[in-house]
């Protein structure tokens, strides 16, 4: 209860500090909009321009060939005709966006109005925008083929029927043909003859990823500024010591745990609010810039879980700074440089896949890396909760480490 009183008081003080509110909530958004707007194409450009699609034609019939020709003629992707094994290999290594398999009885199925399925296997780390674009192209061509196939099949059926009808049935036969054709359009839309099924093969962790820089900027700057907010905890404790109120709190019937919890809770709450505001407004801003919004709604539990561990880690880092720093300059100056440096190395300013090209495994030594990786895996690569378990575990480990340093070095007397 007393810890809550301290936390409420700190939040009251924070709300009146406009400069700090600007730094916590507005500045990150400014960075996101400027950087996303300016560099949003980087990373996505190689694939969006001409994404490569492997095509495995097991049909070798007329309609299979038509499909391949139309895909090649579309101009929005590069078709690579290859074998099934080669396609699997290329896809699993993320060397192209995906592979499309045309089944063996494709032509026969289309001609006999039997449903056929095209399988689109996408690379684990493929750019979602590129995948989406390719799928749209395939579905569009498949819809045309589907309609064409259904109409031809229908006409054939009518032709066969016409031979057995007397001459006076001619007029009726024309109306019947038109009605039949209309029905085929409706059927083709409702139950397309050719369906496209998408699958994602098992991700190969060792392969490098290519993600849209604009999209990764939102979680990147969020992580950076959430960790920068650790300074508010350290500053708040330093200010309490400077004005003497900390002495007053130590003299009150209040345990050290309550005191530290009271100083930690406001930063934790602020961090969560910060993540929510930056994600929502950042995503909204990206939509305005013409980029795809981050899919928070698709992985709400994962996003919230990463946000909680990140907020906790930043708060613990604040306690560690308060324990180690002895002067205002060490909190405001040195820790700012340190936190920006950690953000840079940890992939908040430059995407992780680019950093790893020349820093190797060095980024792994900072918590920013694991937070960025978790958000990227969830929101940009859309890999699901199972992929962020390790990231969360390591991030929580950092959290415990920072808290232990803070408790070890914290000076209640000074």
């Amino acid at each position: 209860m007393k810890a809550i009183s301290i936390a409420l008081k700190d939040l009251q003080v924070l709300i009146k500090d406009r400069g700090m509110l600007f730094q916590l909530f507005i500045l990150p958004l400014v960075f996101i909009f400027v950087v996303s707007g300016a560099l949003g194409g980087i990373g996505a450009s190689e694939e969006v321009k001409l994404p490569q699609l492997a095509v495995v034609d097991l049909d070798a019939g007329e309609h299979g060939k038509t499909l391949v020709d139309k895909l090649s003629a579309d101009g929005s992707l590069e078709v690579v005709l290859t074998s099934s094994a080669e396609a699997d290999s290329l896809v699993s290594q993320n060397k192209l966006v995906g592979s499309l398999t045309i089944p063996a009885a494709f032509t026969e199925g289309v001609e006999s109005s039997q449903a056929v399925t095209l399988v689109l296997a996408t690379a684990p780390k493929a750019n979602p925008q590129a995948v989406s674009a390719i799928r749209m192209v395939i579905e569009s061509i498949a819809a045309d083929l589907s309609l064409e196939g259904q109409i031809i099949a229908s006409l054939k059926q009518l032709g066969e029927m016409r031979g057995s009808l007397p001459d006076e049935s001619e007029v009726f036969a024309t109306e019947h043909v038109l009605a039949k054709a209309r029905q085929q359009f409706v059927d083709a839309e409702a139950r397309p003859l050719i369906q496209v099924v998408q699958s994602v093969p098992q991700q190969d962790q060792d392969q490098e990823t290519t993600i849209n820089y604009g999209q990764s900027a939102v979680p990147g700057f969020t992580v950076l500024f959430v960790f920068l907010a650790a300074q508010t905890t350290a500053k708040s404790i330093y200010e309490e010591k400077k004005i003497g109120s900390f002495r007053r709190l130590v003299a009150a019937p209040l345990s050290k745990a309550e005191l530290l919890a009271g100083k930690l809770i406001p930063n934790f709450i602020t961090n969560l609010a910060q993540i929510a505001v930056i994600f929502i407004l950042g995503s909204l801003g990206m939509s305005l810039l013409g980029m795809a919004a981050l899919p928070f709604a698709e992985v709400p539990v994962g996003t919230i879980l990463v946000a909680i561990v990140l907020a906790l880690c930043s708060s613990a880092f604040g306690i560690a700074i308060a324990g180690l720093a002895r002067t205002d300059n060490q909190i405001s100056g040195v820790s700012t440089i340190l936190l920006w440096g950690m953000g840079l190395v940890g992939g908040s300013l430059v995407p992780i896949f680019l950093l790893e090209r020349f820093l190797g495994k060095i980024p792994m030594v900072v918590p920013h890396y694991w937070a960025n990786r978790a958000f990227d895996d969830l929101l940009v690569r859309r890999l699901g909760m199972a992929q962020v378990g390790l990231d969360l575990l390591v991030l929580f480990g950092f959290c415990l480490l920072f808290f232990a340093i803070g408790l070890w070095r914290f000076d209640y007397e000074r």
Binding site: S5, K9, V13, E413
Partner: protein
């Protein structure tokens, strides 16, 4: 009735440095006890140990029968601390500040509201309660600082230099508040200051502390009585040398004669340092005479100076008080 505070041989060391060197004293229930000493004497360190802010290196103390080391939680509920710093949140209102410290002591609801209103009345800030502390004058901030230490109605209140940097009006206000709390509510007070007139005005007894040690402790009357009718006489002269100073020191009724370093000058009648302009204006040497008997010493000194054809440019006699007691005991002024 047992003392509310008993201190036994309290020591605080930082490495080789001994800030408090075995202090012992006691404070009776309902007493206002003064800790008088210059800056760095160990007053704040002593209070910090007694209020649980820092642990003593050795020694112990009991507050209302509770050991400060073993029963810290009990002790903290009995104590109230008004630190030397303005330990307030400047962007919050006076009421919000006091409310917060009340909640920290476990107060809430109607009781908290009544206590907050009560202490605001005590420090005469009811009409300014909802204004932001940052907009207050130094004196008003000091009063809020005191109110925050009173809100939980402590039995023993530690006031650590509560009048530093305040105007005379606010100082009087603080004096009145302390006296009223002691008189009407029986609150025991430990009052630290380096202003001897504050301790003389407020306290029943006082300990004079210097260099981490108590060098004298008694009632104010007895402490001043240590000097008999002696005191300090400041004599401004047109010239002086070591030989004449030596001669003055040997005169009957004179304990010591020293040259006051320029630009220092004798304190004013109220014991305060004279203004900087006054000090600079007097460029002639000033001799400080510590007298066993003021009147006799003055006659002897003036006679000696007259014989040496030395002109007297100014003359000030300090009546015996705690300042002169401190000077007598340590050879230095309280604010040196």
């Amino acid at each position: 009735m047992p003392p509310i505070l008993e201190v036994e041989n309290l020591v605080k060391k930082y490495g080789d440095f001994e800030a408090v060197k075995g202090i012992s004293f006691s404070v009776e229930e309902g007493e206002v006890f003064g800790l008088l000493g210059p800056n760095g004497a160990g007053k704040t360190q002593t209070i910090s140990m007694l209020t649980g802010v820092i642990p003593p290196t050795s020694g112990t103390a009991r507050i209302a029968g509770h050991d400060i080391r073993k029963e810290a939680d009990q002790v903290k509920k009995i104590n109230g601390l008004v630190p030397q710093d303005l330990a307030l949140y400047p962007t919050l209102s006076a009421r919000a500040n006091i409310n917060f410290f009340g909640r920290i002591y476990g107060l809430h609801g109607r009781e908290l509201k009544e206590r907050v209103d009560d202490v605001l009345r005590i420090v005469s800030l009811t009409d300014r309660a909802d204004q932001v502390v940052d907009k207050f004058s130094g004196g008003m901030k000091r009063r809020v600082n005191i109110a925050a230490g009173l809100v939980h109605q402590p039995r023993l209140l530690f006031l650590d230099e509560p009048t530093v940097g305040v105007d005379p009006q606010s100082r009087n206000h603080i004096f009145e508040s302390v006296q009223r709390l002691n008189r009407e509510r029986g609150m025991s007070v430990v009052y630290t200051s380096h202003y001897m007139e504050e301790v003389e005005t407020l306290c029943n007894r006082a300990a004079i502390i210097d260099g981490g040690r108590i060098i004298a402790m008694d009632t104010i009357k007895n402490l001043i009585g240590m000097l008999g009718d002696g005191g300090v006489v400041y004599v401004g002269v047109n010239r002086i040398d070591e030989a004449i100073l030596g001669e003055l020191s040997t005169l009957p009724a004179v304990k010591d004669a020293t040259l006051v370093p320029v630009p220092a000058s004798p304190p004013g009648p109220d014991g305060k340092e004279t203004a900087a302009e006054t000090k600079l204006a007097g460029t002639t040497p000033v001799v400080k005479i510590v007298a066993r008997h003021n009147q006799q010493a003055l006659v002897n000194v003036l006679g000696c100076l007259n014989q040496q054809d030395i002109a007297v440019t100014s003359l000030e006699i300090m009546q015996p008080n705690l300042e002169s007691v401190f000077l007598h005991l340590t050879g230095k002024k309280l604010r040196e």
